[in-house]
Amino acid sequence: MSEPILKIRNIESFYGPIMAIRGVSLDVHEGRIVSILGANGAGKTTLMKTISGVMDPEKGQIIFDGREIQGQEPHRIVHSGIVHVPEGREVFPLLTVDDNLSLGAYTRNDTQGIEQDRELVFNYFPILKERRTQEAGTLSGGQQQMLAIGRGLMARPKIMLLDEPSLGLSPLLVQEIFEILRRLNKEQGMTMMLVEQNAAAALNLAHDGYVMEVGRIVMDGTAEALMKSEDIQNFYLGVQEEGAREERRWKRKKTWR
């Protein structure tokens, strides 16, 4: 495979004295969807924030497109082509859908390109076109998520960091949004890094996966390989192991092999 577009090397990030990421290294290749799995507090969101510059790493490098970008201001990182779609959507509730999208293109000044991208967003999310004059706060959760993704697209990024796009959405909506993400990847060649708790959906969508636990990566591989792993099946996909009794409660220890 070619040189990865995003390389992370031994990143360590802290919240005060607490080490949230303990030396994480990973690669994202162009055109691929990489999914990060992990339980609460594993450090997935921190990892995303560290990449997008919201947090500064104590140690390590983030190499994007051949340049080290760790510790840079977030707006410069957006400028270099990384867009972060935050957890919990965080659209501007009092602005209209259109204004939200325009804000996504704040770093750009090619009016024509912006308008093209707006059409692109409306193409993928037709509902946003219908509601373009409506205040974003009045949209449903799913629509807000679409808007957040659309706003991200408006920066015309080389890679999108998606933090839990399925959060708080109905299974049907999750399916819909993931389908759109798949199309974006296929048709636009959009590289994505996806943090998810919904492991089944994420592994279905992604090409590669990493599993994080207490700030470290404990397992990685192609999505297919991960889906076959017993540990993933047991602890992330909810497959019940054959037990001696029906109402078995205990789980065997994870080995991450």
Binding site: N10, R216, D220, A244, R248, W250, R257
Partner: protein, 627 residues
């Protein structure tokens, strides 16, 4: 027991022992059997604390009276359910007070207690139950119970399975399973119907009765059950009192598996004599926190644990402020100077003592408190060789740490260094009353009352273990200096004969490798081969730390092992070791085992040592790569 033949008695730390060690009858406070001593202690100690255990995050105390009552109920109930004298009961549980209750209860009514490791698989459990011909099985919780349910039809000899924790099992209805509280109830009822029955059973115990079965890990073939008699254990207690003294006021922490003779002696049998308080760690994962909370006076552990504590400090210091690092360095220097005298039990010159006193106040005392070693009078290390540098480090920070040696077949204790008679790098002198010799082939052989009775229903193996003149073959090769200190150099069975015809004891090289902070364990390969190679298990924590400091990218354990920089690191470690050995004994090539092994894996013993034969089999492809 014939009271007329009580030998001369000596009092050690408030307990009376035979003046001359190693003589029959072995008496501890005039008791000749474990149950008799147990009875005596419970009567005299009454409401004083015997055990502590954490319950929902709070340390709770349990008295000797609790110990007595619960053991009594277990013993009487098992007898009521069909246990006869000489029958075996298997215990499959992590360390907890009920382990001790059951051990005593079983032995008091003439049963034989046999521990099963919680990491054993269902099929291993079936083998152990059938081989020991167990009548009862005590399981800790639903996880362990499920092992039994998987092999239910393979163990027809079992009468009942007793469950200690009912969580998740309220709806269980199974004709052979019962909860411990129901067992207690049966015991309670029996006690009312037949008062004194338990005491009468205890009086029947004889020193030569088999008290426990300990299955030895068996790096080759199936595990064998070593039979230890009351007398063996009493002899171990006697030796322990002289070499591993404990006081009534001592606190201990129990965390190694009680199926292992080391923890069993130290946490169940020795406290019977020494009356000290045993604190049970919550789980193997929380040992270091529990250590801090308990701050024991004596602490016996395997080298791995001592190594971990040291690594923690090392990492902490690397991340400390420059001033903190400087202070630590100065304090360690002062400590090392004093340690050099202390470790040999020499008198410390006044200047050195004063210098140490200052640094102790400033730094070392706090360090010890933080680690939970501040009250420690003696640390012990056994079950595997420990690096001399590590021993010296502990002496430098003011923790006296000594190495000892024993095996199941010697009732856990054969030789021991003490704080006052200590030679680093040796395993100490033979314990009092125990004889030790080096055979012509270099094997360490022992004779005395600690020597076990033989393997359970396996006369052939028993005969192989003893020499014609009745000495026990330990299987370890070593040498003896003129003061009686023993140095182990290897295992007899593991001797490698290279294609060139050279005899090599791999254990010597392996333990040198293990002394590296980056190597957790190693297996030397080379039998009938042209040269020696090694399979290395890296120490995850320390190597990860190294990789991060050196900016070596890695994601999971396998990629860590695959990193060139890590291979280079291990190569330098091996090169350093190679310098100490002759040319034929040098390691030419090596491979890292790139799966993170856990105690559940067959390749590891319960004390996390690599098993040569399994490793050679499981990682044969790595070995072939090297030749």
């Amino acid at each position: 027991m014939n009271m007329h033949t009580v030998p001369d008695q000596t009092t050690i730390n408030g307990v009376s022992y035979n003046t001359k060690p190693g003589q029959r009858p072995v008496l501890v406070d005039k008791c000749a059997t474990i149950p008799a001593l147990f009875k005596q202690r419970c009567q005299s100690m009454g409401d004083r604390t015997a055990h502590r255990e954490k319950d929902l995050g709070i340390w709770k105390t349990y008295s000797w009276k609790d110990y007595w009552n619960h053991a009594k109920w277990i013993g009487l109930a098992l007898r009521e359910l069909g246990l006869e004298r000489g029958d075996v009961v298997s215990i499959l549980s992590e360390d907890r007070k009920e382990w001790a209750y059951a051990d005593m209860g079983i032995q008091a009514v003439g049963g034989i207690a046999s521990g099963v490791y919680t990491t054993d698989s269902a099929s291993q459990l079936a083998y152990l139950i059938n081989d020991s011909d167990s009548r009862f099985l005590i399981v800790e919780d639903e996880e362990q119970l499920d092992k039994y349910l998987q092999i239910e039809d393979q163990v027809p000899g079992l009468l009942k399975v007793i469950i200690l924790e009912d969580e998740g099992l309220h709806d269980l209805s199974h004709h052979r399973c019962m909860l411990i509280k129901d067992l207690y109830q049966i015991g309670w009822d029996t006690d009312i119907q037949e008062p004194e029955a338990f005491e009468n059973e205890i009086d029947e115990a004889q020193p030569e009765d088999t008290a426990l079965l300990i299955y030895t890990s068996g790096t080759t073939g199936m595990p064998k059950g070593a039979m230890l008699s009351n007398e063996n254990i009493m002899a171990a207690i006697e030796a322990g009192a002289r070499r591993l003294s404990v006081y009534e006021t001592d606190e201990q922490l129990c965390f190694l598996p009680l199926c292992h003779i080391l923890e069993r002696d130290v946490s169940i049998y020795f406290p019977l004599a020494g009356k000290c308080i045993v604190n049970f760690a919550e789980s193997p994962e929380t040992v270091f926190n529990n250590l801090q909370e308990v701050s024991p006076h004596t602490f016996t552990a395997v080298p791995r644990v001592w190594e971990k504590i040291y690594s923690q400090v090392l990492i902490l210091m690397q991340e400390a402020t420059p001033i903190g690092r400087l202070a630590y360095g100065m304090a360690l220097k002062a400590g090392a100077k004093r340690g050099d005298y202390k470790i040999k039990a020499d008198k410390v010159p006044t200047g050195v003592a004063i210098n140490y006193w200052i640094w102790d106040r400033l730094v070392l005392r706090n360090l010890r408190r933080m680690l939970g070693l501040d009250r420690m009078r003696r640390g012990g290390s056994g079950a595997a060789p420990i690096s001399p540098e590590l021993l010296k480090w502990y002496w430098s920070i003011g923790v006296p740490l000594v190495e000892g040696y024993g095996m199941t077949e010697t009732a856990g204790l054969a030789t021991m260094n003490t704080r006052f008679e200590n030679v680093v790098g040796t395993i100490g002198q033979a314990v009092p009353g125990y004889d030790l010799r080096i055979a012509d082939d270099g094997e360490i052989q022992t004779k005395g009352l600690n020597n076990f009775q033989g393997y359970w229903r396996n006369n052939e193996k028993t005969a192989e273990t003893f020499t014609d003149d009745g000495w026990l073959r330990t299987g370890d090769v070593g040498r003896l200096d003129e003061d009686g200190y023993v140095t182990i150099t290897g295992r007899l069975k593991d001797i490698i004969i290279t294609a060139g015809g050279k005899n090599i004891t791999p254990a010597e090289i392996e333990s040198r490798l293990k002394f590296s902070h980056f190597i957790s364990d190693a297996v030397i390969i080379g039998d009938r081969r042209k040269f020696l190679t090694a399979l290395i298990m890296i120490d995850q924590e320390n190597v990860e730390k190294y990789a991060q400091d050196q900016k070596v990218p890695f994601s999971n354990f396998a990629s860590l092992c695959a990193a060139e920089e890590i291979k280079a690191l291990i190569r330098t470690e091996i090169d350093a070791v190679n310098k100490e050995f002759a040319r034929v004994e040098q390691i030419k090539d090596f491979r890292l085992i790139d799966v993170l092994l856990t105690a559940e894996d067959e390749e590891l013993t319960a004390t996390m040592k690599l098993k040569r034969s399994y490793v050679e089999k499981a990682h044969g492809h790595l070995i072939e790569e090297m030749y």
